[in-house]
């Protein structure tokens, strides 16, 4: 498995501001992923973060809203920009140990936008 930590664990933000979420892994990994879990909805992939290259975004998610950094093989950040109440959600990072079948998740960051 993998030990994954996220900061902050939760936050309450004002509309129009931004929140940056950090994800730290205990060992080097090639692929890191960012997901969103909205109430009553499926966990949804936002983007894939590969070290040394631009993040790859899924349909419906754009870099201006969700900029991602991946400076090394153990760390990534996701910023949720220009916050609105619709961004209230849990954001999770994950890492892939074995391609396609072993993906492990961090504890999540619970964001509330007022």
């Amino acid at each position: 498995s993998a030990v994954i930590s996220q900061k902050p664990s939760r936050d309450i933000c004002q509309r129009g501001t931004s929140l940056t979420i950090q994800c730290q892994v205990d060992s080097q990994v090639t692929m890191m992923f960012w997901y969103r879990q909205q109430p009553g909805q499926s966990l949804t992939l936002i983007a894939t973060a590969n070290q040394g290259s631009e993040a790859t975004y899924e349909s419906g998610f754009v870099i201006d809203k969700f900029p991602i950094s991946r400076p090394n093989l153990t760390f990534s950040t996701l910023t949720v920009s220009n916050l609105s109440p619709e961004d209230s959600s849990i954001y999770l990072c994950s890492v892939e140990r074995v391609a396609g079948r072993e993906q492990f998740f961090g504890p999540g960051t619970r964001l509330t936008v007022l």
């Binding site: 090639t30 894939t48 590969n50 994950s94 391609a99 396609g100 993906q103 961090g106």
Partner: protein
């Protein structure tokens, strides 16, 4: 399409019962089939994954895949109160160089009473 259908429940059973959790899907491109367990305010925890049609057993848990019917199941034998959680099915979808996306069902909330 990438949708995965999962009955959200809630499902309530007495301790010791056999639990059956199910998901259906429509996309034949899905490669691996996973089950995650998510406790309240925690990240999803990988329980097990399967690739081919058939059964895979791990302790009290059995994962079953029927690719011809596009149907997967998770059986929990001798259920315990500690099994009370939300169970998420997930299926892997290759993204090429961007790694693998996991497509999740909405999760089934299980409550096991003692």
């Amino acid at each position: 399409q990438k949708e995965v259908e999962q009955d959200p429940g809630p499902l309530s059973v007495p301790e010791g019962a056999i639990v059956s959790l199910n998901c259906t899907y429509s996309n034949s491109a899905f490669q691996y089939f996973m089950w995650y367990r998510q406790y309240s305010r925690k990240g999803p925890e990988l329980l097990m994954y399967t690739y081919s049609s058939g059964n895979k057993e791990d302790g009290r848990f059995t994962a079953q895949v029927d690719k011809s019917s596009k149907y997967i199941s998770l059986f929990i034998r001798d259920s315990q109160p500690s099994d009370s959680a939300t169970y998420l099915c997930a299926m892997s979808f290759p993204l090429g160089q961007a790694g693998t996306a996991l497509i999740f069902g909405k999760g089934t909330t299980l409550s096991v009473s003692s």
